[in-house]
């Protein structure tokens, strides 16, 4: 069975995000890009299928900043093949555009199952997994937390609100939007990634055309009124005192359970 995992690069959310002067986008120059967290879970799910069912894993990324790092890291973790799609697109965050770029590439790479993260930090125009399903003509399920092989289909667990889940049998080929897996994404040491980047090659595919966006961005802005909270300052003990005073005032001080 061939599993293909789509890896996306997204701005690192740990950093403070600056807006550009016009207020129409992030200040792109100062951004650090990292692998989309949910795509890492998708990769982990693929590697679990490799370990359990002997699947072959291909990783595919649009050529965005630091994509090579994510691809080599995936190879270091156990992926069998890596490819990226290069072209005249810059920093696109649009899921529709990414689907335009990726679908033709997926069609020429081995795949019975296409996995990618359920969402990203910037998929304003919808979830990539579901879009890929539509563009490729495959059934797609998102918010998947477990995948097992059952003969020539997959049994997937989809999660709803409040922890309720449902099990579905999904025919191949299919696309799954991965939320989590039964184990956390494994780690590849930097030394191994470096070694892999010297031994292995990333295949390069050319991107085709991208449709024009059907959304016009009016403004990017920071949430209004920023902070609503009353800020408590001081050294840790002073802060602790102030918090206890607040709790006492609100009748929230309990005796701790014995």
């Amino acid at each position: 069975m061939d599993v293909l995992v789509v890896l996306r690069q997204v701005p690192d959310l740990v950093e403070d995000l600056e807006l550009n002067a016009a207020g129409t986008d992030l200040e792109r120059d100062s951004l650090k890009y990292v692998l989309n967290e949910f795509d890492d879970w998708a990769l982990e799910q693929a590697l679990l299928l490799k370990e359990k069912n002997g699947a072959l894993v291909t990783v595919l990324a649009p050529d965005l900043p630091e994509a090579d790092t994510s691809l080599y890291t995936a190879l270091a973790k156990g992926a069998d093949r890596a490819a990226k799609v290069s072209g005249d697109f810059v920093l696109t965050r649009s899921s529709h555009a990414l689907a335009d770029i990726l679908a033709p590439a997926i069609r020429v790479l081995p795949h019975d199952v296409v996995l990618t993260g359920v969402q990203s930090a910037e998929d304003l125009d919808g979830q990539l997994a579901v879009l890929l399903g539509s563009y490729l003509g495959y059934p797609a399920v998102s918010v998947v937390t477990d995948v097992a092989v059952d003969g020539s289909s997959l049994i997937v667990r989809k999660e709803f609100a409040g922890g309720l889940c449902a099990e579905y049998e999904v025919a191949l080929p299919c696309v799954l939007g991965i939320q989590a897996a039964v184990r956390t994404p494994r780690y590849a040491p930097v030394s191994r990634v470096r070694a892999v980047s010297k031994e292995k090659k990333i295949e390069v595919l050319s991107a085709g055309g991208i449709r024009e966006s059907d959304l016009r961005i009016v403004a990017f802005r920071k949430p209004e009124g920023g902070r609503r909270a009353d800020m408590i300052t001081g050294d840790p003990d002073s802060v602790a005192q102030q918090i206890v005073a607040i709790l006492r005032q609100r009748g929230l001080l309990k005796r701790s359970s014995e």
Binding site: L131, G162, E167, T184, P223, D230, A240, R250
Partner: protein, 318 residues
């Protein structure tokens, strides 16, 4: 092309609060556009009468829709949109909505705005406000055509506005071609009851990514005990296996309304806020001054939680 169409969401025979949030906002948008409001209920016709706020409820009766199936629901929604031609379609940005919105957007070339927390009309045009980048940035987006689909985050609009008594006109429909395709429902899996029901706790101490490792949970557990409360967590902590699912607060976990919610190392991503913003008193400790949690917290501390937590535990034990 006219009207607003809301997709009601239900699971296990129960309508989600979200359905009323969407219906209420749908009503407001329909009134502002001087157009009618339709609410679509798939596979559960008995729920149709709950939507007195609508002008019409389209109750799709196909038995293949009785249990949620991504492909069947997609086919039904796409058909309804093609036939009724609404100007604005509202679905939830939920596990169900996420399956449907993007697929329908692709199939019908319908502009889609996800993570919507605000909707307004500017000069006769629909502007949707979306929350991106972990809640740190708001984006105002305008569909390029005069029709669109918007996926709305739960909790963005009041449910009360959608719960109006009334007798909507109910149109029962049996649609063609609504099959489960390559996705067959097998069974529902109820969440495991944990040792503690966090929804019944007065005092919750919540841990997020800032806790960094499983070993560090011990210190926060001690704080929770000193407060007479229980520990809960955001999704990443549970996904890592550091706490059971029964302790997860947020969109894919539980919604809690404790008297005190002390959030430690929790950034406050929208999916988490959804589960706790109704708490009576929210105190947040985070080393990042721009953490979105400070927008909903009543009190905030920008500091290292590894200093604050022990200091607070000490004070409480005195």
């Amino acid at each position: 092309m006219a009207g607003v169409m809301v997709l009601a969401e239900h699971l296990n025979g129960v309508l989600a609060d979200l359905s009323f949030e969407l219906a209420g906002k749908g009503r407001a948008m329909a009134d502002a556009l001087a157009e009618p409001l339709d609410v679509a209920v798939l596979g559960a016709p008995t729920l149709a009468s709950e939507f007195g706020v609508a002008d019409r409820v389209i109750a799709v009766t196909n038995t293949t829709l009785e249990v949620y199936s991504p492909t069947a629901y997609r086919a039904a929604l796409a058909q309804l949109i093609r036939e009724y031609q609404p100007r604005l379609v509202l679905v939830g940005n939920t596990s169900i909505g996420m399956d449907l919105a993007a697929a329908v957007s692709a199939e019908l070339s319908l502009p889609l705005v996800s993570y919507c927390t605000g909707l307004r009309i500017d000069d006769g045009q629909i502007v949707a406000t979306a929350q991106l980048y972990g809640g740190k940035v708001l984006v105002d987006a305008l569909p390029a055509t005069d029709h669109c689909i918007v996926a709305v985050l739960a909790g963005s609009f009041p449910a009360d506005a959608g719960r109006r008594p009334g007798q909507p006109s109910i149109e029962r429909r049996e649609l063609a071609g609504v099959t489960s395709g390559g996705i067959r429902f097998r069974r529902l899996i109820q969440p495991e009851a944990g040792d503690v029901d966090i929804t019944r706790q007065d005092i919750l101490v919540s841990v997020g990514r800032g806790i960094q490792s499983q070993e560090n949970l011990e210190g926060v557990e001690e704080l929770a005990r000193a407060l007479g409360g229980e520990l809960c967590a955001s999704r990443p902590i549970v996904d890592n296996g550091w706490l059971p699912k029964s302790r997860q607060v947020g969109k894919s976990g539980l919604t809690v309304r404790p008297r005190l919610y002390l959030a430690v190392g929790v950034s406050g991503a929208p999916e988490h806020l959804e589960g706790m913003r109704g708490a009576e008193c929210i105190i947040a400790v985070n080393s990042d001054p721009s953490a979105p949690i400070f927008e909903v917290a009543d009190y905030g501390v920008v500091a290292d939680l590894f200093e604050i937590v022990p200091a607070l535990t000490d004070r409480l034990k005195q």
